[in-house]
């Protein structure tokens, strides 16, 4: 059973994956870390907004949204 590495933005809604890497400037990485997104944490794409809008994410009991462009900067490993 091999794990599949991909960008968070490619994750299907409702699928759970494990964060492997967050790229971007220090400020962006810090803010995500403060929201609980850092390597090893499980993240779930709850839904996507219409018209290519933002992604609704859940990490632990924290829910927030970010845009697809930012979600591209987060790499995850999904249990395939």
């Amino acid at each position: 059973m091999g794990a599949v590495s991909m960008k968070l933005s490619c994750l299907r809604c409702g699928e759970l994956a494990s964060v492997t890497c967050v790229e971007g400037d220090a400020c962006f990485v810090r803010r995500l870390q403060a929201l609980g997104v850092h390597p090893g944490r499980a993240v779930n794409v709850v839904r996507r907004a219409a018209f290519n809008g933002p992604l609704h994410l859940r990490v632990g009991s924290t829910e927030f949204f970010l845009r697809a462009r930012e979600a591209d900067a987060i790499s995850v490993q999904s249990p395939a």
Binding site: A49, S61, F65
Partner: protein, 596 residues
């Protein structure tokens, strides 16, 4: 000397609710040396001390780079402190514990509050507080600020903590703020030891509500429908209240103010009654509507729906160069543009801030709402009233979108948008009224001088030079209106309306009070005077102009203070006046052309 305690924590931890619970109604906003923002503080007796409790802005990261994070750091560096209380959302301890450890590293005596412990249990999060407290070396208390549970224990713990005096000097604190070491390993170890939580958490109710309210298809229609219903509600409940206040103020004038003012010479009596009292009374009669607006707004904010609104519209906002936060600020701007403009501090990119500040003055604020409610009530049938008002809200949004589209190339920005979606919560009645009260008293504080100066200036212009027939062509106002009349004639305004608009630049609040003075009527007579002077086409054209033309002086001052660019401030004035003229002109000419 009183001791000082700071309350800090991340956004959405219920920190402000806790602050309100601890301090009651005694809180005041104040300026602090070296800080650009006002912070809420209150004195309260704790044990044997009188303690000053300061509510710091919510922030994510002690070493972060947002404005709020700078404010917190500057506060810690400059203001002497005896004790820190950090508030955590118990359900989110898995990530908030990092901030706790950053703050602990400062070495200031402190304790931690696990707020919303009831919500945490609903999520299935179990925290061994005793063990956590032992590991950290300071008290960790479970509290529910919403239900006012655990507050006595918290007060006692702060009092106990204050008795042990090992104050850290400001110089020492500044040194300790500097290093930025990761606390992740320590946090993970602590969590493993003290917290049990399911692998993936969801509060069933929020998930089910989101399923409907954030639906890709129905989400937006539901949002706009609820917005419309809220306005309908404000209008239906507010109008009778408004009449009641106006009647009361008229009674007061006839029974008390008039007899007292009668001792003055006629000119002074006229100035006091016809200028100051009637002008201010006109404005005051709209306070119930403004209060209702803020009660509803704070309920929507507390419920967690406001962040969802940002989610729903972000995709669209991104296309016009803004983001979901800008939309939420726009909704706040519907109360007053000034705090909304100040709220752009949450954005880091100067270009994004500039663009948002150009757009925000088009939010239909409470001051403009006053003018519209009055004219709509005077000139439209009750059945059309809500629809006419709604059309103005839609137009204000369209003007904002157009502005963004026109200026997005000049103020082009890319900034990550990350916004929390807190669980849905029932709004608390107490906090709704408190927020309404804060906004109204703030509005009055900011606006009173403007309003008084404005209506007095208008009264003087209509009653001078000495001995002139009031508001006649010979008065200053009459002369002024004749010289500007040709500008406003193609929009369907008579000369007096044009003068009222000139004064509206000072504050939109003055437009109505000014009209009352210009038409030489009292508040209760203004309806008839307006019906006599204009039809619905003129009124709608006038409302369009009032909606779009130049931000008031306070908003411009805020734009200049925040943007620090005369070019931006001037752009804001010229663009909005031009747009107002073009739109009113087009509407009036087309409507008349169609035979209305």
């Amino acid at each position: 000397m009183s001791k000082r305690v700071a309350l800090l924590g991340m956004p959405n931890t219920g920190k402000s609710t806790l602050f309100n619970r601890l301090t009651g109604a005694s809180a005041r906003t104040g300026n602090w040396p070296g800080l650009t923002v006002e912070l809420l503080a209150a004195k309260l007796p704790l044990g044997t001390d009188l303690v000053e409790l300061v509510d710091l802005p919510g922030f994510y990261d002690l070493h972060g780079m947002t404005e709020d994070e700078h404010v917190v750091r500057r506060f810690l560096e400059r203001v002497p402190l005896d004790f820190l209380v950090i508030v955590l959302n118990a359900a989110q301890i898995d990530r908030q514990i990092n901030l706790l450890l950053q703050v602990k590293a400062l070495g200031v005596p402190m304790l931690a509050v696990l707020n919303m412990s009831d919500e945490a249990k609903r999520f299935g999060v179990n925290i061994d507080t005793a063990r956590l407290s032992t590991a950290l070396g300071f008290p960790v208390l479970e509290v529910s600020a919403r239900r006012a549970e655990g507050l006595d224990v918290l007060r006692q713990a702060i009092a106990d903590g204050l008795r042990v005096s090992n104050k850290v000097s400001q110089a020492e604190l500044a040194l300790r703020l500097a290093p930025d070491e990761t606390v992740q390993d320590e946090a993970d170890a602590l969590l493993r030891m003290t917290v049990k939580s399911p692998r993936e958490l969801s509060d069933g109710m929020s998930a089910r509500l989101d399923h409907v309210l954030l639906h890709p298809l129905w989400g937006l229609p539901i949002f706009f429908l609820s917005l419309f219903l809220l306005f309908q509600f404000i209008f239906t409940v507010g109008a009778p209240l408004q009449d009641a206040v106006a009647n009361l103020l008229n009674l007061l004038r006839d029974a008390i103010v008039q007899p007292v003012a009668h001792v003055l010479p006629p000119f002074g009596e006229g100035l006091l009654i016809g200028g100051v009292y009637d002008g201010v009374a006109t404005v005051a009669s709209f306070l119930p509507i403004i209060a209702l607006f803020f009660i509803v707004m704070s309920a929507v904010e507390d419920s967690g729906y406001l962040a969802r609104a940002a989610f729903l519209v972000d995709g669209f906002m991104a296309r016009i160069g803004l983001d979901g936060r800008g939309f939420v600020l726009h909704l706040f701007g519907m109360g007053c543009n000034v705090p909304a403009v100040m709220g752009t501090r949450v954005m880091r990119s100067p270009a994004l801030r500039a663009l948002t500040m150009l757009v925000l003055p088009f939010a239909l604020c409470a001051a403009r709402l006053q003018v519209f409610l009055f004219l709509i009530a005077a000139l439209f049938a009750p059945a059309q009233a809500a629809l006419v008002l709604f059309s103005l809200y839609v137009l204000s949004l369209l003007a904002a979108v157009l502005t963004a589209a026109v200026f997005k190339r000049r103020y082009h920005a890319v900034e990550p948008v990350i916004l929390e979606l807190p669980p849905y919560r029932l709004p608390q009645v107490g906090s709704m009224f408190k927020s309404a009260w804060n906004e109204i008293s703030g509005f009055l504080r900011r606006a009173t001088q403007f309003i008084v100066v404005g209506v007095v200036a208008i009264w003087l212009l209509t009653h001078l030079p000495w001995g002139v027939e009031p508001s006649s062509p010979a008065s200053f106002a009459g002369q002024l209106s004749q010289s500007v009349g040709f500008i406003f004639a193609p929009l369907g305004f008579d000369a007096l309306l044009g003068v009222a608009l000139l004064f509206g630049f000072v504050a939109k609040e003055i437009v109505l009070g000014g009209l009352a003075v210009l038409y030489r009527v009292q508040e209760d007579g203004l309806t008839q005077a307006v019906q006599l002077h204009m039809d619905w086409v003129q009124a709608y054209s006038f409302m369009l102009f009032t909606l779009l033309y130049t931000p008031c002086v306070s908003t411009l001052a805020a734009i200049q203070a925040e943007g620090k660019s005369w070019r931006l401030t001037l752009t804001s004035v010229l663009w909005s006046v031009g747009l107002a003229y073009a739109v009113s002109f087009a509407f009036y000419q087309v409507a008349r052309g169609l035979g209305y």
